[in-house]
């Protein structure tokens, strides 16, 4: 006599999605990580193809009181997609269509799994692009950009994701489907769109996103300034902004970064320099030409060795290739790296950069700086070899000190990578208990049961129960 086995959550998901519900060892391991050093273990990985399936998965998770995590390309650096509480992973990889390009309204509706660069490529023939351009833009997804309010080099002039997403269809944690924001300029009600963007998957899952189309600039000029002293480079950054110029991008690379990048792309970066500034100016030609002149003047005043202007699109692309692949190029010197992300006032760049070097020296690590200088957005890379015993502790200790130095300089915890798991226990450096309590009240309005990507963004104890804490995976650094 056999009693009928009670259906598990896996069985239910299998009924809903068939072979697109997976729980093989290899997949569980793969989806246990994102691009941070953290990892956990999911229970199941699902690959829905439309909003109804996402809604179905979330409903099942509600019935079984099981947490779920939306996942784009897994390029997040703060552990935002690392599974905690044995969750169901909802991958948006198969929701990757550009649904509609509306040139009159200058918007496009896209599915969350569309890759950032693919979107801009799709818009190219119409003379438009999607402005946020994280370094991972070849592989990161629009859904992930929304979750992290992603930036990128060109956000200095154009703003981050929240300025470029007008509306989103979202499956709320209770499985209700809603539209946040709107294509019209003043949608009624509270700006839940603005709140949702950057909420790291803790307020629901975007299943359709309306992005703003930005016209491609008629004129673009890319300049490379080199400096024998990092301080001069950092001062030039403030001087450029002070001169009333907002470049499309204003990036800095230090000596270590220049060396590894040049060995990788052979773009003619000056390997002797202590620092270079990569400046991009765009817009109408009159403004661009005037800005080139101003930057030449600033370069002289701040002792730049030379100003190189990319002569054509090929040279421009090569210079950017170096910048955008700098992180990957670190592998030339060490197999692993830890990438940080803090923001400081521009006027404090020199001071904090010097502290970063001192901290790295103290822990005998190599610091490589390649970052969005115009925004004050530092990205110190600590290069290391994970096989070296005790090295991760040193890397973490150095990271803690870099974060604290940035906070003391009047900065913030994250410019574009988010808080995730990595920085949630640093939130108290920026916010009071009451600030975080208030943030959690708002999160709870979306997710009273705490099922959507639990344990992320806010430290445990801000308000919600610590029900998932016992499931913290080993090695998670919180």
């Amino acid at each position: 006599m056999s009693s009928k086995r009670k259906r598990t959550i896996f069985d239910e998901l299998k009924v809903l999605l068939g072979s697109r519900t997976r729980a093989d060892d290899m997949e569980l391991q793969l989806y246990g990580k994102d691009s941070s050093v953290l990892s956990g273990v999911p229970s199941t990985v699902c690959f829905p193809v439309n909003v109804e399936e996402v809604q179905g998965i979330v409903s099942i998770c509600n019935r079984f009181q099981r947490p779920f995590i939306a996942r784009g390309s897994g390029t997040g650096l703060a552990g935002g997609a690392v599974p905690i509480g044995n969750p169901v992973i909802i991958s948006t990889a198969k929701m990757n269509k550009v649904l509609e390009i509306d040139l009159e309204d200058r918007i496009a509706w896209v599915e969350p799994g569309v890759l950032n660069l693919d979107l801009s490529k799709a818009l190219l023939e119409f003379g438009f692009h999607f402005a946020p351009d994280p370094s991972s833009q070849q592989v990161c997804s629009i859904g992930g950009n929304v979750a992290n309010n992603s930036g990128g080099p060109h956000c200095l002039a154009y703003g981050v994701t929240t300025s470029h997403v007008l509306a989103a269809e979202v499956v709320l944690p209770n499985a209700e489907v809603v539209t946040l924001g709107g294509i019209d300029p003043e949608p009624k009600g509270y700006d839940l769109r603005g709140l949702f963007i950057g909420s790291e998957g803790t307020m629901g899952i975007a299943t359709k996103v309306a992005v703003r189309l930005t016209p491609n600039p008629p004129d673009v000029r890319t300049l490379l300034l080199d400096f024998a002293d990092v301080s001069d480079g950092a001062l030039a950054v403030s001087a450029i902004i002070n001169a009333g110029i907002i470049p499309a991008a204003l990036e800095m690379m230090d000596h270590n970064a220049i060396g590894i990048v040049e060995a990788f792309v052979h773009a003619g970066y000056p390997v002797e320099a202590a620092a270079v500034l990569l400046v991009e100016l765009d817009g109408l030609s009159g403004a661009v030409e005037a800005a080139v002149q101003t930057i030449n003047d600033v370069a002289k005043i701040h002792n730049a060795g030379s100003v190189r202007v990319a002569k054509d699109e090929t040279e421009r692309a090569l210079l950017w290739k170096g910048r955008k692949n700098a992180f990957g190029a670190v592998a030339r010197i060490k197999p692993d790296y830890y990438l940080h992300d803090t923001v400081v006032p521009r006027s404090k760049l020199v001071e904090v950069l010097n502290q970063v070097y001192q901290i790295a020296d103290k822990y005998e690590l190599i610091a490589i700086n390649v970052f969005h200088a115009g925004d004050g957005n530092l990205h110190p890379i600590l290069a290391y070899d994970a096989r070296e015993p005790g090295i991760l502790e040193r890397v973490h200790s150095a990271g803690d000190e870099i974060i604290k130095a940035s906070m003391e300089a009047g900065g913030v915890l994250s410019g574009e990578h988010g808080i995730g798991l990595e920085k949630r226990d640093f939130m108290h450096l920026l916010f009071s208990a009451h600030d975080m309590f208030t943030q959690d009240l708002v999160r709870e309005a979306f997710d009273p049961q705490g099922l959507a990507n639990p344990m992320k963004v806010l430290p445990s104890g801000s308000r919600c129960s610590d029900s998932f804490k016992q499931n913290l995976p080993e090695g998670v650094w919180v």
């Binding site: 809603v178 509270y190 963007i197 002070n242 400081v344 574009e416 939130m427 600030d435 708002v442 309005a445």
Partner: protein
């Protein structure tokens, strides 16, 4: 202690209590969102600029500071806040109402200019949100929730806003042409207004570029735009503006590319299809359980 700390604490203390309370700014948009309960006690946000470093392009001030004062100090350093508000409007009022100025086409929405805020909550406690730097993704973006919330979730005490360089040249042009065609010919104009017949366009930037763009328009220079009708306001997706001449016979002026219509008659958007009302209501209940903040104002 930072400049402004005492002022915001005093403001928060003035909000505390169990009575109905309303925050009063310059009263330049006082009619937006319904009538305040006459029993509500009025409080005013702190006034004063606490911190302004031109090279950071950020300015920190009391939420009760007027736009006039802010534009004056920014102007001394050839910077501006891209809002088109009356000089007597307070920055807190502009953000709480959340309406962007007519140059939104180029400069974006006013919500994107608020970087950090301190607000007094329903218990008169201070809450900080956002961060003082131009780029920041630390924690939930309560700043954007507060913009346009008409003070129903908390009263702004202090804000840090982002400034922009004043364009070296600025020119209004007017004439008769197809405004949609005009938009497609120009690179990021600051404003295009249309009344169904006549067009006004604002070109800003380097003088050489403004001159070149002006010649593309084929329009003649004028001193500025007409006064915006203010009885009604419609928010439409931009392409629907084409149909306005068939829809309305009264005076109207539309912001092409943005989707706003200013009307001489009291016509406003139909709100019946609003999504996510449950979440909005829940947020209001959690952040103001007794409904004492700006009673009478309705956001949804």
């Amino acid at each position: 202690m930072n400049l402004g700390t005492i002022e915001r604490q005093e403001f928060a203390a003035s909000v505390a209590g169990s009575d109905l309370v309303t925050v009063v700014g310059g009263k330049t948009q006082w009619d937006v969102g319904g009538t305040i309960d006459p029993n509500a006690r009025a409080v005013s946000a702190p006034v004063g600029i606490y911190d302004y470093t031109p090279s950071e392009m950020t300015l920190r001030c009391g939420a009760g500071t007027t736009v006039g004062e802010i534009q004056d100090i920014l102007g001394e350093h050839a910077q501006m806040l891209p809002v088109n508000a009356e000089r007597g409007s307070t920055i807190g009022g502009i953000l709480a109402v959340g309406r962007s100025g007519i140059r939104r086409l180029r400069y974006g929405a006013v919500r994107d200019y608020l970087l950090e805020s301190w607000h007094a909550d329903h218990e008169g406690k201070l809450v900080k949100s956002g961060g003082p730097t131009i780029k920041n993704v630390s924690g939930y973006d309560l700043c954007r929730l507060l913009v346009g919330s008409l003070g129903t979730l908390g009263f702004l005490a202090e804000v840090t806003v982002r400034s922009l360089p004043i364009p070296p040249c600025s020119r209004w042009m007017t004439g008769v042409c197809d405004p949609f065609d005009l938009q497609s010919k120009l690179y990021r104009p600051s404003c295009i207004l249309w009344n169904g017949n006549q067009v006004w366009v604002l070109l800003e930037g380097h003088p050489v570029d403004v001159e070149r763009e002006a010649s593309i328009t084929g329009l003649s220079e004028c001193s500025g735009p007409p006064v915006l009708p203010s009885a009604g306001r419609l928010s439409l997706r931009p392409k629907l503006l084409r149909e306005l001449p068939q829809m309305y016979k009264q005076d109207w002026l539309a912001e092409i590319g943005v989707g706003l219509v200013h009307l001489s008659e009291t016509i406003n958007n139909d709100q019946s299809s609003l999504s996510a009302v449950t979440v909005m209501r829940d947020i209001k209940t959690r952040l103001d359980p007794t409904g004492r903040l700006n009673p009478g104002r309705e956001v949804f």
